[in-house]
Amino acid sequence: MGNLYTSTTFMEHNSHPDYKYEMDAPTHEHDGINPSCGDELTLQLRVENNVIEEASFTGHGCAISQASADIMADLITGETVEEARRLAELFLAMIRGEQLSEEDLEDLDEAAQLQDISHMPARVKCAELAWRTLDGMLTGQNNQ
Protein backbone atom coordinates (compact mmCIF):
# COMPACT_ATOMS: atom_id res chain seq x y z
CA MET A 1 0.00 0.00 0.00
CA GLY A 2 3.07 2.16 0.17
CA ASN A 3 2.46 3.46 -3.33
CA LEU A 4 -0.77 5.10 -2.16
CA TYR A 5 1.16 7.53 -0.02
CA THR A 6 3.51 8.30 -2.89
CA SER A 7 0.69 8.73 -5.40
CA THR A 8 0.18 12.46 -5.91
CA THR A 9 -3.36 11.98 -7.20
CA PHE A 10 -4.31 9.81 -4.25
CA MET A 11 -2.81 12.20 -1.71
CA GLU A 12 -4.58 15.11 -3.46
CA HIS A 13 -7.91 13.46 -2.66
CA ASN A 14 -6.89 13.63 0.99
CA SER A 15 -5.42 17.13 1.10
CA HIS A 16 -7.86 18.78 -1.33
CA PRO A 17 -11.02 16.72 -1.45
CA ASP A 18 -13.52 18.02 -4.02
CA TYR A 19 -16.49 16.37 -2.39
CA LYS A 20 -15.92 17.17 1.26
CA TYR A 21 -18.64 19.66 2.15
CA GLU A 22 -22.09 19.82 3.64
CA MET A 23 -24.80 19.65 1.00
CA ASP A 24 -27.71 22.09 0.89
CA ALA A 25 -30.62 19.77 0.27
CA PRO A 26 -29.63 16.12 0.47
CA THR A 27 -32.26 13.48 -0.19
CA HIS A 28 -30.18 10.88 1.65
CA GLU A 29 -27.84 11.06 4.64
CA HIS A 30 -26.05 8.29 6.51
CA ASP A 31 -23.34 8.12 9.18
CA GLY A 32 -20.46 5.69 9.27
CA ILE A 33 -17.93 5.19 12.05
CA ASN A 34 -14.87 3.10 12.74
CA PRO A 35 -14.88 2.91 16.52
CA SER A 36 -11.42 1.35 16.61
CA CYS A 37 -9.85 4.20 14.59
CA GLY A 38 -12.05 7.09 15.63
CA ASP A 39 -12.94 7.72 11.97
CA GLU A 40 -16.32 9.41 11.53
CA LEU A 41 -18.03 10.12 8.28
CA THR A 42 -21.38 11.48 7.13
CA LEU A 43 -22.32 10.72 3.57
CA GLN A 44 -24.91 12.83 1.77
CA LEU A 45 -26.58 12.18 -1.58
CA ARG A 46 -29.01 14.10 -3.75
CA VAL A 47 -30.88 11.54 -5.79
CA GLU A 48 -33.25 12.62 -8.56
CA ASN A 49 -35.07 10.20 -10.86
CA ASN A 50 -32.97 7.36 -9.49
CA VAL A 51 -29.73 9.12 -10.47
CA ILE A 52 -27.16 10.36 -7.94
CA GLU A 53 -26.91 14.00 -8.99
CA GLU A 54 -24.67 15.02 -6.12
CA ALA A 55 -22.58 13.20 -3.51
CA SER A 56 -20.59 14.69 -0.64
CA PHE A 57 -19.13 13.75 2.72
CA THR A 58 -18.01 15.35 5.98
CA GLY A 59 -16.13 13.98 8.96
CA HIS A 60 -12.58 13.13 9.88
CA GLY A 61 -10.20 10.24 9.74
CA CYS A 62 -6.93 9.03 8.28
CA ALA A 63 -5.75 9.81 4.76
CA ILE A 64 -6.88 6.43 3.50
CA SER A 65 -10.45 6.90 4.74
CA GLN A 66 -10.68 10.49 3.51
CA ALA A 67 -9.20 9.91 0.06
CA SER A 68 -11.29 6.78 -0.38
CA ALA A 69 -14.46 8.77 0.40
CA ASP A 70 -13.54 11.51 -2.06
CA ILE A 71 -12.75 9.00 -4.79
CA MET A 72 -16.06 7.25 -4.16
CA ALA A 73 -18.09 10.46 -4.28
CA ASP A 74 -16.44 11.31 -7.59
CA LEU A 75 -17.12 7.85 -8.98
CA ILE A 76 -20.82 7.60 -8.09
CA THR A 77 -21.82 11.11 -9.11
CA GLY A 78 -24.02 10.80 -12.19
CA GLU A 79 -24.58 7.07 -11.71
CA THR A 80 -27.89 5.35 -11.07
CA VAL A 81 -28.58 4.05 -7.58
CA GLU A 82 -28.25 0.45 -8.82
CA GLU A 83 -24.90 1.16 -10.45
CA ALA A 84 -23.63 2.86 -7.29
CA ARG A 85 -24.64 -0.20 -5.27
CA ARG A 86 -22.87 -2.45 -7.73
CA LEU A 87 -19.71 -0.34 -7.52
CA ALA A 88 -19.83 -0.36 -3.72
CA GLU A 89 -20.16 -4.13 -3.70
CA LEU A 90 -17.27 -4.46 -6.15
CA PHE A 91 -15.10 -2.22 -4.04
CA LEU A 92 -15.91 -4.05 -0.80
CA ALA A 93 -15.18 -7.38 -2.48
CA MET A 94 -11.85 -6.05 -3.78
CA ILE A 95 -10.81 -4.66 -0.41
CA ARG A 96 -11.56 -7.99 1.25
CA GLY A 97 -9.14 -9.67 -1.11
CA GLU A 98 -11.39 -11.03 -3.84
CA GLN A 99 -9.90 -11.05 -7.32
CA LEU A 100 -11.86 -8.76 -9.65
CA SER A 101 -11.97 -8.98 -13.45
CA GLU A 102 -10.09 -6.40 -15.51
CA GLU A 103 -13.44 -4.96 -16.48
CA ASP A 104 -14.64 -4.56 -12.93
CA LEU A 105 -11.35 -2.95 -11.93
CA GLU A 106 -11.77 -0.51 -14.82
CA ASP A 107 -15.25 0.33 -13.59
CA LEU A 108 -13.80 1.18 -10.18
CA ASP A 109 -11.40 3.56 -11.92
CA GLU A 110 -9.28 5.48 -9.39
CA ALA A 111 -10.72 3.43 -6.54
CA ALA A 112 -8.96 0.38 -7.95
CA GLN A 113 -5.64 1.70 -6.65
CA LEU A 114 -6.82 0.88 -3.13
CA GLN A 115 -6.59 -2.82 -4.02
CA ASP A 116 -3.33 -3.28 -2.08
CA ILE A 117 -5.09 -2.35 1.15
CA SER A 118 -6.48 -5.87 1.23
CA HIS A 119 -3.00 -6.96 2.37
CA MET A 120 -3.18 -4.62 5.37
CA PRO A 121 -5.98 -5.94 7.60
CA ALA A 122 -5.57 -3.03 9.99
CA ARG A 123 -6.34 -0.52 7.22
CA VAL A 124 -9.22 -2.34 5.50
CA LYS A 125 -11.76 -0.61 7.75
CA CYS A 126 -10.31 2.80 6.85
CA ALA A 127 -10.55 2.18 3.12
CA GLU A 128 -14.06 0.78 3.19
CA LEU A 129 -15.69 3.25 5.59
CA ALA A 130 -17.32 5.45 2.92
CA TRP A 131 -18.28 2.48 0.78
CA ARG A 132 -19.79 0.59 3.68
CA THR A 133 -21.76 3.71 4.55
CA LEU A 134 -22.99 4.01 0.96
CA ASP A 135 -23.86 0.33 0.83
CA GLY A 136 -25.76 0.59 4.12
CA MET A 137 -27.62 3.67 2.93
CA LEU A 138 -28.68 2.23 -0.40
CA THR A 139 -29.48 -1.21 0.98
CA GLY A 140 -31.59 0.45 3.67
CA GLN A 141 -33.38 2.46 0.98
CA ASN A 142 -34.28 -0.66 -0.96
CA ASN A 143 -35.67 -2.27 2.14
CA GLN A 144 -38.07 0.59 2.73
Binding site: M1, Y5, M11, S15, C37, G38, D39, A63
Partner: protein, 441 residues
Protein backbone atom coordinates in the same frame (compact mmCIF):
# COMPACT_ATOMS: atom_id res chain seq x y z
CA UNK B 1 4.40 14.56 51.57
CA UNK B 2 1.68 12.47 53.13
CA UNK B 3 -0.80 14.69 54.90
CA UNK B 4 -0.70 13.27 58.43
CA UNK B 5 -3.89 15.11 59.34
CA UNK B 6 -5.80 12.91 56.96
CA UNK B 7 -3.92 9.67 57.17
CA UNK B 8 -3.59 8.16 60.58
CA UNK B 9 -1.09 5.37 60.45
CA UNK B 10 1.52 3.68 62.53
CA UNK B 11 4.33 4.79 60.27
CA UNK B 12 3.21 8.39 60.37
CA UNK B 13 5.87 9.28 62.90
CA UNK B 14 8.37 9.18 60.05
CA UNK B 15 6.43 9.48 56.81
CA UNK B 16 8.40 8.84 53.69
CA UNK B 17 8.19 11.51 51.05
CA UNK B 18 5.25 10.66 48.83
CA UNK B 19 6.93 12.07 45.72
CA UNK B 20 3.65 12.08 43.90
CA UNK B 21 4.23 15.29 42.05
CA UNK B 22 7.89 15.91 42.56
CA UNK B 23 9.15 14.11 39.48
CA UNK B 24 8.83 17.15 37.25
CA UNK B 25 11.46 18.90 39.34
CA UNK B 26 14.90 18.95 37.87
CA UNK B 27 18.02 17.22 39.22
CA UNK B 28 18.38 14.65 36.51
CA UNK B 29 21.51 12.75 35.79
CA UNK B 30 22.09 12.36 32.07
CA UNK B 31 22.71 8.84 30.85
CA UNK B 32 26.15 8.05 29.54
CA UNK B 33 25.64 4.56 28.09
CA UNK B 34 26.98 4.01 24.59
CA UNK B 35 23.90 3.27 22.50
CA UNK B 36 25.77 3.18 19.21
CA UNK B 37 27.19 -0.26 19.89
CA UNK B 38 24.73 -3.05 20.47
CA UNK B 39 25.87 -6.25 22.14
CA UNK B 40 22.35 -7.67 22.26
CA UNK B 41 20.75 -7.57 18.84
CA UNK B 42 22.77 -10.56 17.62
CA UNK B 43 21.11 -12.73 20.26
CA UNK B 44 17.68 -12.20 18.69
CA UNK B 45 16.95 -14.39 15.64
CA UNK B 46 14.17 -12.09 14.45
CA UNK B 47 16.63 -9.25 13.98
CA UNK B 48 18.88 -11.54 11.94
CA UNK B 49 15.85 -12.44 9.83
CA UNK B 50 14.86 -8.77 9.47
CA UNK B 51 18.03 -6.70 9.76
CA UNK B 52 16.25 -3.81 8.03
CA UNK B 53 13.68 -3.10 10.73
CA UNK B 54 13.75 -0.72 13.65
CA UNK B 55 11.50 -2.44 16.17
CA UNK B 56 10.05 0.20 18.47
CA UNK B 57 6.99 -1.64 19.72
CA UNK B 58 8.35 -3.65 22.62
CA UNK B 59 5.64 -2.31 24.93
CA UNK B 60 3.18 -4.34 22.82
CA UNK B 61 5.37 -7.43 22.77
CA UNK B 62 9.10 -7.91 23.09
CA UNK B 63 11.29 -9.94 20.78
CA UNK B 64 12.72 -13.20 22.06
CA UNK B 65 16.39 -14.17 22.27
CA UNK B 66 17.52 -17.50 20.82
CA UNK B 67 17.83 -19.07 24.27
CA UNK B 68 14.09 -18.64 24.83
CA UNK B 69 13.19 -20.20 21.49
CA UNK B 70 15.63 -23.02 22.25
CA UNK B 71 14.03 -23.59 25.64
CA UNK B 72 10.57 -23.94 24.14
CA UNK B 73 11.92 -26.51 21.70
CA UNK B 74 13.98 -28.28 24.38
CA UNK B 75 10.90 -28.83 26.46
CA UNK B 76 9.11 -30.69 23.71
CA UNK B 77 12.26 -32.46 22.61
CA UNK B 78 13.63 -33.54 25.95
CA UNK B 79 10.96 -33.61 28.65
CA UNK B 80 7.56 -33.45 27.01
CA UNK B 81 4.87 -35.07 29.15
CA UNK B 82 1.80 -33.76 30.90
CA UNK B 83 3.01 -32.28 34.18
CA UNK B 84 1.42 -33.04 37.55
CA UNK B 85 -0.35 -36.29 36.79
CA UNK B 86 2.14 -38.64 35.17
CA UNK B 87 3.87 -41.25 37.33
CA UNK B 88 6.76 -41.80 34.97
CA UNK B 89 10.03 -39.94 34.95
CA UNK B 90 9.34 -37.73 31.92
CA UNK B 91 6.24 -36.30 33.56
CA UNK B 92 8.08 -35.88 36.83
CA UNK B 93 10.76 -33.95 34.97
CA UNK B 94 8.15 -31.70 33.35
CA UNK B 95 6.52 -31.14 36.74
CA UNK B 96 9.90 -30.26 38.26
CA UNK B 97 10.64 -27.87 35.44
CA UNK B 98 7.46 -25.93 36.11
CA UNK B 99 8.07 -25.95 39.84
CA UNK B 100 11.53 -24.52 39.26
CA UNK B 101 10.18 -21.64 37.18
CA UNK B 102 7.57 -20.97 39.86
CA UNK B 103 10.35 -20.71 42.43
CA UNK B 104 12.44 -18.60 40.06
CA UNK B 105 9.58 -16.11 39.65
CA UNK B 106 8.93 -16.06 43.39
CA UNK B 107 12.61 -15.23 43.98
CA UNK B 108 12.58 -12.61 41.23
CA UNK B 109 9.63 -10.64 42.59
CA UNK B 110 10.29 -11.18 46.28
CA UNK B 111 7.36 -13.52 46.97
CA UNK B 112 7.58 -15.31 50.29
CA UNK B 113 6.75 -18.68 48.74
CA UNK B 114 6.64 -20.23 45.28
CA UNK B 115 3.04 -21.38 45.70
CA UNK B 116 1.90 -17.77 45.64
CA UNK B 117 2.80 -17.67 41.95
CA UNK B 118 -0.15 -18.62 39.74
CA UNK B 119 0.31 -19.22 36.02
CA UNK B 120 -2.31 -17.70 33.73
CA UNK B 121 -2.36 -16.88 30.02
CA UNK B 122 -1.54 -13.19 30.30
CA UNK B 123 -1.86 -10.06 32.45
CA UNK B 124 -5.50 -9.66 31.42
CA UNK B 125 -6.34 -13.11 32.72
CA UNK B 126 -4.39 -12.48 35.93
CA UNK B 127 -6.30 -9.27 36.59
CA UNK B 128 -9.59 -10.94 35.69
CA UNK B 129 -8.84 -13.62 38.25
CA UNK B 130 -8.43 -10.95 40.94
CA UNK B 131 -11.53 -9.04 39.84
CA UNK B 132 -13.75 -12.09 39.41
CA UNK B 133 -12.59 -14.32 42.27
CA UNK B 134 -11.10 -12.03 44.89
CA UNK B 135 -13.05 -8.78 44.54
CA UNK B 136 -16.53 -10.22 45.18
CA UNK B 137 -15.27 -11.62 48.49
CA UNK B 138 -14.50 -8.10 49.80
CA UNK B 139 -16.84 -5.73 47.91
CA UNK B 140 -20.18 -4.60 49.33
CA UNK B 141 -22.62 -2.17 47.73
CA UNK B 142 -21.32 1.36 48.29
CA UNK B 143 -17.68 0.27 48.52
CA UNK B 144 -15.22 1.81 46.12
CA UNK B 145 -12.66 0.43 43.70
CA UNK B 146 -10.08 3.06 42.77
CA UNK B 147 -8.07 2.94 39.54
CA UNK B 148 -6.32 5.62 37.49
CA UNK B 149 -7.58 7.01 34.21
CA UNK B 150 -4.36 5.80 32.57
CA UNK B 151 -5.08 2.11 33.09
CA UNK B 152 -4.86 -0.32 30.21
CA UNK B 153 -8.29 -1.81 29.45
CA UNK B 154 -6.99 -5.00 31.15
CA UNK B 155 -6.92 -3.20 34.47
CA UNK B 156 -10.13 -1.29 33.81
CA UNK B 157 -12.88 -3.41 32.28
CA UNK B 158 -12.66 -6.23 34.87
CA UNK B 159 -13.24 -3.57 37.57
CA UNK B 160 -16.16 -2.07 35.65
CA UNK B 161 -17.67 -5.53 35.54
CA UNK B 162 -17.21 -6.41 39.19
CA UNK B 163 -18.48 -3.00 40.31
CA UNK B 164 -21.61 -3.51 38.28
CA UNK B 165 -22.11 -6.94 39.80
CA UNK B 166 -21.45 -6.01 43.43
CA UNK B 167 -22.91 -2.50 43.59
CA UNK B 168 -19.48 -1.04 44.29
CA UNK B 169 -18.43 2.25 42.72
CA UNK B 170 -15.53 2.64 40.29
CA UNK B 171 -13.58 5.78 41.16
CA UNK B 172 -10.85 7.27 38.94
CA UNK B 173 -7.65 9.03 39.91
CA UNK B 174 -6.88 11.76 37.38
CA UNK B 175 -3.23 12.74 37.07
CA UNK B 176 -1.95 16.03 35.75
CA UNK B 177 -2.05 16.19 31.96
CA UNK B 178 1.55 15.01 31.96
CA UNK B 179 0.67 11.93 33.98
CA UNK B 180 1.67 12.80 37.55
CA UNK B 181 -0.70 11.77 40.33
CA UNK B 182 -0.87 14.56 42.86
CA UNK B 183 -1.14 14.09 46.59
CA UNK B 184 -4.36 16.15 46.64
CA UNK B 185 -6.03 13.94 44.06
CA UNK B 186 -5.00 10.73 45.78
CA UNK B 187 -6.07 11.89 49.23
CA UNK B 188 -9.39 13.11 47.84
CA UNK B 189 -10.21 9.79 46.22
CA UNK B 190 -8.73 7.09 48.46
CA UNK B 191 -10.52 6.75 51.75
CA UNK B 192 -12.43 4.47 54.12
CA UNK B 193 -14.71 3.28 51.31
CA UNK B 194 -11.76 2.17 49.18
CA UNK B 195 -11.62 -1.61 49.23
CA UNK B 196 -9.39 -2.10 46.22
CA UNK B 197 -6.85 0.18 44.56
CA UNK B 198 -5.70 -1.22 41.23
CA UNK B 199 -2.94 0.60 39.40
CA UNK B 200 -0.50 0.08 36.58
CA UNK B 201 3.06 0.48 37.84
CA UNK B 202 4.07 2.01 34.50
CA UNK B 203 1.55 3.49 32.03
CA UNK B 204 1.61 1.88 28.60
CA UNK B 205 0.72 5.23 26.99
CA UNK B 206 2.40 7.93 29.07
CA UNK B 207 5.34 5.80 30.19
CA UNK B 208 5.10 7.34 33.63
CA UNK B 209 5.82 5.32 36.76
CA UNK B 210 3.10 5.57 39.37
CA UNK B 211 3.94 5.92 43.08
CA UNK B 212 2.67 2.41 43.78
CA UNK B 213 4.42 2.00 47.10
CA UNK B 214 2.83 5.09 48.61
CA UNK B 215 -0.55 4.29 47.14
CA UNK B 216 -0.29 0.89 48.81
CA UNK B 217 0.52 2.41 52.18
CA UNK B 218 -2.46 4.68 51.88
CA UNK B 219 -4.99 2.05 50.85
CA UNK B 220 -3.74 -0.30 53.54
CA UNK B 221 -4.42 2.33 56.21
CA UNK B 222 -8.05 2.08 55.23
CA UNK B 223 -8.02 -1.71 55.21
CA UNK B 224 -8.12 -1.95 51.43
CA UNK B 225 -6.03 -3.99 49.01
CA UNK B 226 -3.45 -3.01 46.41
CA UNK B 227 -3.50 -4.67 42.99
CA UNK B 228 -0.55 -3.86 40.72
CA UNK B 229 -0.54 -4.27 36.95
CA UNK B 230 3.13 -4.91 36.27
CA UNK B 231 2.89 -5.62 32.55
CA UNK B 232 4.98 -2.55 31.66
CA UNK B 233 7.23 -2.50 34.70
CA UNK B 234 8.66 -5.96 35.30
CA UNK B 235 10.41 -6.15 31.91
CA UNK B 236 12.23 -2.90 32.65
CA UNK B 237 12.82 -2.56 36.39
CA UNK B 238 13.36 -4.81 39.38
CA UNK B 239 10.14 -5.55 41.23
CA UNK B 240 9.80 -6.54 44.88
CA UNK B 241 6.18 -7.19 45.77
CA UNK B 242 6.91 -7.04 49.50
CA UNK B 243 8.63 -3.68 49.17
CA UNK B 244 5.81 -2.36 46.98
CA UNK B 245 3.28 -3.51 49.54
CA UNK B 246 1.24 -5.19 46.83
CA UNK B 247 -1.49 -7.71 47.62
CA UNK B 248 -1.59 -8.87 44.00
CA UNK B 249 0.88 -8.36 41.16
CA UNK B 250 0.26 -9.34 37.53
CA UNK B 251 2.52 -9.50 34.49
CA UNK B 252 2.93 -11.21 31.13
CA UNK B 253 5.90 -13.24 29.95
CA UNK B 254 5.72 -11.98 26.38
CA UNK B 255 6.68 -8.43 27.25
CA UNK B 256 9.65 -9.81 29.20
CA UNK B 257 11.29 -11.75 26.34
CA UNK B 258 9.20 -14.84 27.08
CA UNK B 259 6.62 -16.59 24.94
CA UNK B 260 3.09 -15.34 24.30
CA UNK B 261 0.37 -17.05 26.29
CA UNK B 262 2.02 -17.11 29.71
CA UNK B 263 0.91 -14.72 32.41
CA UNK B 264 1.60 -14.59 36.11
CA UNK B 265 -0.54 -13.62 39.04
CA UNK B 266 1.22 -13.31 42.35
CA UNK B 267 -1.00 -12.90 45.40
CA UNK B 268 -0.65 -13.14 49.16
CA UNK B 269 -1.29 -16.71 50.23
CA UNK B 270 -4.10 -15.97 52.67
CA UNK B 271 -5.97 -14.02 49.97
CA UNK B 272 -5.41 -16.70 47.33
CA UNK B 273 -6.57 -19.36 49.80
CA UNK B 274 -9.84 -17.55 50.41
CA UNK B 275 -10.61 -17.11 46.70
CA UNK B 276 -12.78 -19.50 44.72
CA UNK B 277 -11.33 -20.76 41.42
CA UNK B 278 -12.36 -18.94 38.23
CA UNK B 279 -12.01 -21.99 35.99
CA UNK B 280 -12.72 -25.52 37.10
CA UNK B 281 -11.93 -28.92 35.63
CA UNK B 282 -8.81 -31.00 35.25
CA UNK B 283 -5.70 -30.69 37.39
CA UNK B 284 -7.27 -28.29 39.90
CA UNK B 285 -8.97 -30.74 42.29
CA UNK B 286 -8.06 -32.97 45.18
CA UNK B 287 -11.10 -35.21 44.89
CA UNK B 288 -14.38 -35.31 43.01
CA UNK B 289 -17.67 -37.03 43.79
CA UNK B 290 -20.88 -37.08 41.76
CA UNK B 291 -22.16 -33.85 43.32
CA UNK B 292 -19.09 -32.17 44.72
CA UNK B 293 -15.41 -31.48 44.38
CA UNK B 294 -12.60 -30.49 46.71
CA UNK B 295 -10.18 -27.99 45.24
CA UNK B 296 -6.48 -28.61 45.09
CA UNK B 297 -4.36 -26.20 47.14
CA UNK B 298 -3.10 -22.91 45.70
CA UNK B 299 -1.75 -22.49 43.03
CA UNK B 300 -3.14 -25.61 41.28
CA UNK B 301 -6.63 -24.51 42.32
CA UNK B 302 -6.35 -21.68 39.80
CA UNK B 303 -4.65 -23.62 37.01
CA UNK B 304 -7.42 -25.72 35.52
CA UNK B 305 -6.56 -27.84 32.51
CA UNK B 306 -3.20 -28.64 31.01
CA UNK B 307 -0.89 -25.66 31.26
CA UNK B 308 1.42 -24.43 28.52
CA UNK B 309 4.32 -26.20 30.18
CA UNK B 310 6.76 -25.47 27.35
CA UNK B 311 5.79 -21.81 27.55
CA UNK B 312 6.35 -21.77 31.29
CA UNK B 313 9.71 -23.48 30.82
CA UNK B 314 10.67 -20.89 28.18
CA UNK B 315 9.48 -18.12 30.52
CA UNK B 316 12.06 -19.38 32.97
CA UNK B 317 14.71 -19.05 30.28
CA UNK B 318 13.48 -15.56 29.39
CA UNK B 319 13.59 -14.26 32.94
CA UNK B 320 16.98 -15.86 33.43
CA UNK B 321 18.21 -14.07 30.31
CA UNK B 322 16.63 -10.79 31.39
CA UNK B 323 17.95 -10.79 34.93
CA UNK B 324 21.18 -12.77 34.76
CA UNK B 325 22.49 -12.40 31.21
CA UNK B 326 21.51 -8.77 30.60
CA UNK B 327 20.69 -7.63 34.12
CA UNK B 328 18.29 -4.94 35.28
CA UNK B 329 21.12 -2.49 35.83
CA UNK B 330 22.13 -2.69 32.17
CA UNK B 331 18.53 -2.72 31.02
CA UNK B 332 17.69 0.43 32.92
CA UNK B 333 20.86 2.28 31.98
CA UNK B 334 20.49 1.43 28.31
CA UNK B 335 16.76 2.08 28.07
CA UNK B 336 17.18 5.42 29.82
CA UNK B 337 19.89 6.38 27.37
CA UNK B 338 17.70 5.35 24.44
CA UNK B 339 14.70 7.32 25.71
CA UNK B 340 16.91 10.30 26.48
CA UNK B 341 18.19 10.33 22.91
CA UNK B 342 14.76 9.65 21.42
CA UNK B 343 13.05 12.42 23.39
CA UNK B 344 15.86 14.84 22.59
CA UNK B 345 15.44 14.19 18.88
CA UNK B 346 11.64 14.28 19.01
CA UNK B 347 11.57 17.59 20.83
CA UNK B 348 13.41 19.18 17.93
CA UNK B 349 10.61 18.34 15.50
CA UNK B 350 8.09 21.17 15.58
CA UNK B 351 5.52 19.00 13.82
CA UNK B 352 5.50 16.42 16.61
CA UNK B 353 3.38 16.74 19.74
CA UNK B 354 4.51 14.66 22.71
CA UNK B 355 1.71 13.19 24.78
CA UNK B 356 2.52 13.27 28.47
CA UNK B 357 5.60 14.62 30.15
CA UNK B 358 8.24 16.55 28.23
CA UNK B 359 10.91 15.20 30.59
CA UNK B 360 12.67 12.15 29.25
CA UNK B 361 13.06 10.50 32.63
CA UNK B 362 9.30 10.38 33.14
CA UNK B 363 9.11 8.00 30.19
CA UNK B 364 9.92 4.42 31.13
CA UNK B 365 10.66 3.06 27.70
CA UNK B 366 7.44 4.51 26.25
CA UNK B 367 6.91 7.77 24.34
CA UNK B 368 3.52 8.60 22.81
CA UNK B 369 3.10 11.40 20.31
CA UNK B 370 1.17 12.69 17.35
CA UNK B 371 2.27 14.27 14.11
CA UNK B 372 0.34 17.50 13.56
CA UNK B 373 -2.60 17.06 11.21
CA UNK B 374 -1.71 13.49 10.25
CA UNK B 375 -3.70 10.53 11.47
CA UNK B 376 -1.63 8.11 13.59
CA UNK B 377 -2.56 5.20 11.32
CA UNK B 378 -1.09 7.04 8.36
CA UNK B 379 2.04 7.78 10.39
CA UNK B 380 2.47 4.10 11.27
CA UNK B 381 1.80 2.94 7.70
CA UNK B 382 4.37 5.31 6.21
CA UNK B 383 6.90 4.43 8.92
CA UNK B 384 6.32 0.79 8.04
CA UNK B 385 7.44 1.51 4.48
CA UNK B 386 10.76 2.59 6.01
CA UNK B 387 10.97 -0.53 8.19
CA UNK B 388 10.08 1.29 11.41
CA UNK B 389 7.64 -0.60 13.64
CA UNK B 390 5.62 1.64 15.94
CA UNK B 391 2.17 1.30 17.43
CA UNK B 392 -0.72 3.58 16.48
CA UNK B 393 -4.23 3.59 17.86
CA UNK B 394 -5.89 3.84 21.24
CA UNK B 395 -3.39 1.51 22.94
CA UNK B 396 -6.18 -0.19 24.89
CA UNK B 397 -6.57 3.02 26.88
CA UNK B 398 -9.60 4.72 25.35
CA UNK B 399 -10.74 6.43 28.59
CA UNK B 400 -7.26 7.99 28.93
CA UNK B 401 -7.19 9.31 25.36
CA UNK B 402 -10.74 10.63 25.78
CA UNK B 403 -9.76 12.38 28.99
CA UNK B 404 -6.59 13.81 27.44
CA UNK B 405 -8.70 15.06 24.52
CA UNK B 406 -6.44 13.40 21.97
CA UNK B 407 -7.82 13.93 18.46
CA UNK B 408 -9.27 10.81 16.79
CA UNK B 409 -8.78 8.99 20.14
CA UNK B 410 -5.54 7.72 18.69
CA UNK B 411 -1.87 8.41 18.95
CA UNK B 412 1.48 6.95 17.93
CA UNK B 413 3.76 5.21 20.38
CA UNK B 414 7.41 4.35 20.18
CA UNK B 415 8.69 2.01 22.87
CA UNK B 416 12.22 0.79 23.41
CA UNK B 417 13.92 -2.21 24.93
CA UNK B 418 17.58 -2.75 25.75
CA UNK B 419 18.11 -4.46 22.37
CA UNK B 420 17.43 -1.22 20.51
CA UNK B 421 20.23 1.14 19.55
CA UNK B 422 20.93 4.61 18.24
CA UNK B 423 20.49 3.45 14.64
CA UNK B 424 16.91 2.39 15.43
CA UNK B 425 16.11 5.84 16.83
CA UNK B 426 17.77 7.56 13.88
CA UNK B 427 15.69 5.48 11.51
CA UNK B 428 12.60 6.40 13.46
CA UNK B 429 13.37 10.12 13.30
CA UNK B 430 14.12 9.87 9.56
CA UNK B 431 10.80 8.07 9.19
CA UNK B 432 9.00 10.95 10.87
CA UNK B 433 10.58 13.41 8.43
CA UNK B 434 9.38 11.14 5.64
CA UNK B 435 5.84 11.14 7.08
CA UNK B 436 5.84 14.91 7.28
CA UNK B 437 7.17 15.44 3.77
CA UNK B 438 4.68 12.91 2.36
CA UNK B 439 1.83 15.08 3.55
CA UNK B 440 3.45 18.48 3.30
CA UNK B 441 5.56 18.29 0.19
Amino acid sequence: MIDTEHVKCDTCTAPEPMELDASDEASRGWPTVDIETNPYKGQFPLFQQHPEIAFLDSAATAQRPACVLDAERDFYQCMNANPLRGLYSLSVEATDAIAKVRQQIADLIGASQANEVVFTRNTSESLNLVAKSFAPTVLEPGDEVVITIMEHHSNLIPWQQVCRETGAKLVYLYPTKTGQLTTEEVLAKVGPKTKILAVGQVSNVLGVENPVKNLGKLVHKYGGYLVVDGAQSLPHMPVDVADLGADFFAFSAHKAMGPMGIGVLWGKMDLLNAMPPMLTGGEMIDSVTEQDAVWAPVPEKFEAGTQDAAGIFATGAALDYLVNTVGYENIQAREQALVHYLMGELMQLDFVQIIGSIYWDNHHGVVSFNVKGIHPHDVASIMDMDGVCIRAGHHCAQPLLTWLGVENLACCRASVAFYNDKADIDKFIAGLHHVWSTFNG
